[in-house]
């Protein structure tokens, strides 16, 4: 696709994100009105659905030949086509949204040939916008280049701030892989742990990826989320010099729909950090294609 066309799409996605942001910040969700999807902690609200509808309608009108994959209208089993596809999460961080915790984002991505090429992530509560076009760099508020400061080299996991999320699966293999690995990552070196500086959990995969792109989170390890949670963030991460590999050890080339992601920020030592991280994982995730 031509750069001009990508720029136009980028600008349009920003307009849509800001418009959705108004809807989100003026909504008054409550856990009473929230429905749940696969279990009592996988929440969805009317706002999620309304925002997705508004976005998909606008996108289909302006780009009728493009495909659309959105969280609230996803048909299980659908595979991402290679043709240009908008991949949208109307509210990433619905649990936070319902609780009023202002770490929530609209995530709008464009993928071509299964690769993210445009990404827009917007937190309407803090009015922070992250965006990128393939080859054109990544930015915060369209003005500050990512990463936000000169990246320090990464020698050891023990110097890093690691972001993780527990997810909505609360039993079974993958939940245990997470829980045991978190303990191992943070645990003391004397007991075989990585003694990372800190473990952080905030509740929005898209914003977490933007944190890694910004450089204020060093690593984000995740499994169980979906292409719409990460498409835009991946475009931004890559343009900021970060890398994305598989959350399971050994795969340097994860699929956008693979549902298993390990993001590492820009900085010397990325590959060594990936290897170190993989060595601490307690088991393997089963989720994903």
């Amino acid at each position: 696709m031509e750069l001009d066309e990508l720029r136009e799409i980028h600008d349009f996605l920003i307009t849509l994100a800001k418009r959705a942001g108004e809807t989100i910040t003026s909504a008054k969700p409550s856990t009473g009105a929230a429905g749940s999807k696969k279990n009592s902690v996988d929440l969805v609200t009317e706002t999620d659905q309304a925002v997705e509808k508004a976005i998909s309608t606008s996108l289909k009108e302006k780009y009728p030949s493009f495909s659309f994959m959105g969280e609230e209208t996803y048909e299980p089993g659908t595979r991402l086509p290679p043709s240009p596809t908008f991949i949208v999460d109307p509210i990433d961080g619905t649990t936070n949204f319902v609780h009023g915790y202002p770490y929530v984002s609209i995530s709008l991505g464009l993928a071509v040939n299964l690769q993210p090429v445009v990404g827009v992530v917007y937190n309407p509560f803090t009015r922070t916008l992250y965006s990128a076009i393939a080859g054109q760099g990544a930015f915060m508020n369209q003005s500050e280049r990512l990463p936000l400061r000169e990246p320090e080299p990464m020698h050891d996991l023990g110097e890093l701030q690691v972001c993780v999320e527990w997810g909505s699966d609360r039993s079974g293999n993958d939940f245990h892989v997470k829980a045991h690995t978190f303990r191992r990552l943070a645990g003391s070196k004397e007991e075989g742990g990585a003694m990372v500086h800190s473990l952080r959990s905030f509740g929005s995969a898209a914003l977490n990826l933007c944190g890694v792109a910004s450089g204020n989170l060093d690593v984000y390890w995740e499994a169980g989320c979906w292409a719409w949670d990460v498409c835009a963030g991946m475009a931004i991460l890559k343009e900021a010099g970060g890398i994305m590999v598989d959350a399971n050890p050994g795969n340097w080339d994860p699929s956008l729909e693979g549902r298993r992601y390990l993001a590492v920020r820009n900085g010397e030592g990325q590959k060594e950090i990936v290897e170190q991280f993989w060595s601490h994982i307690q088991g393997r995730f089963e989720v994903g294609v």
């Binding site: 829980a179 007991e191 990372v196 500086h197």
Partner: protein, 301 residues
């Protein structure tokens, strides 16, 4: 004639102190924003995850100078000048953390705050917590409610419309991982984190989710704001929580011990559980649910 007893401060006098502390917090915020921290430029205290920077020290020195100049009769307890074994007296005491969330600060993550409190007879009566990266200013004076003032100047009184919470299954819970990563306290903490999240059919509480943001002061404020329902924490210090404590109480929240059975924890006890505003019965039921999860376990610091 009004008695000049320093520990019988009137509400207007306390409010004046609160306004003064807000100004000091803003000045500290400016210093924090102007700093150029890095992981490499920081030093270890007890271990690699317990860090301090030149900015922590400089900010505390500035705060100490301001506070002692304006209130020379009050005592001062600050993180960076703390002597092991130092205890709060009954006298009015400023309790100060120049940067709560130093790791976030070193890494550039915008969730860190200056925390300023006044205690009298070892109880927080005024609290100010300011995150200069987001421009969020949380404050409270005993008897006057708690407020969040945002960067755009707008003010919101906290705790006015609490949502009902019937059990941990409805709750967003904040926990931190601390810097003690081995031993029985670590085992308790990691086991509880998993139990909060685990499915009920496997013996867990299946709470909505866990959040770990890296600043105890801000965690207390987020509970005051109702964004988080429960903050369960052991191991942090009086300077991390003194301000957040009064902010949470003034927002209608409840503060009990992280360890089972203690409904009246001391502010220096290093054991804290904060519950968001709700009917007292609901709050107590959540406390009992968390304590029951602990079984025979408890923190020992």
């Amino acid at each position: 004639m009004k008695p000049k007893l320093v520990d019988n401060l009137s509400i207007p006098e306390l409010k004046k102190i609160c306004n003064f502390l807000k100004g000091v917090a803003k000045a500290a915020g400016k210093m924090i924003l102007a700093a150029d921290p890095s992981v490499d430029g920081s030093e270890e205290k007890n271990n690699t995850s317990d860090r301090v920077t030149a900015t922590d020290k400089a900010v505390e020195a500035m705060i100490h100078a301001e506070l002692t100049a304006n209130y020379p009769d009050f005592d001062f307890l600050g993180e960076e000048s703390f002597k092991a074994g130092q205890k709060l007296s009954k006298k009015p005491t400023f309790v100060v953390d120049p940067i709560d969330g130093t790791l976030n600060f070193c890494h550039g993550f915008p969730n860190a705050a200056v925390s300023l409190a006044l205690t009298i007879r070892r109880k927080p009566v005024v609290g100010v917590v300011y995150n200069p990266f987001r421009g969020d200013l949380f404050y409270a004076t005993q008897g006057c409610g708690a407020v969040l003032q945002k960067a755009d100047g707008s003010k919101k009184k906290l705790g006015l419309n609490p949502r009902p919470i019937s059990s941990l299954n409805d709750c967003l819970v904040a926990v931190e991982w601390g810097n003690q990563r081995t031993g029985p306290n670590w085992q308790l903490r990691t086991r509880m984190a998993m139990d909060f999240m685990t499915a009920k059919k496997d013996g867990g509480r299946m709470c909505h989710s866990l959040r770990s943001s890296g600043s105890a002061a801000l965690d207390f404020c987020y509970v005051a704001a109702g964004w988080i329902d429960v903050f369960w924490e052991g191991g942090c210090w009086v300077w991390d929580v003194a301000a957040g404590w009064i902010i949470l109480l003034e927002a209608g929240g409840l503060v009990v011990s992280a360890n089972p059975g203690d409904w009246e924890p001391g502010v220096e006890g290093r054991l804290y559980m904060g519950i968001a505003a709700a009917e007292r019965q609901q709050q107590e039921s959540i406390v009992e649910e968390v304590w029951a999860m602990m079984g025979e376990g408890k923190f020992v610091f």
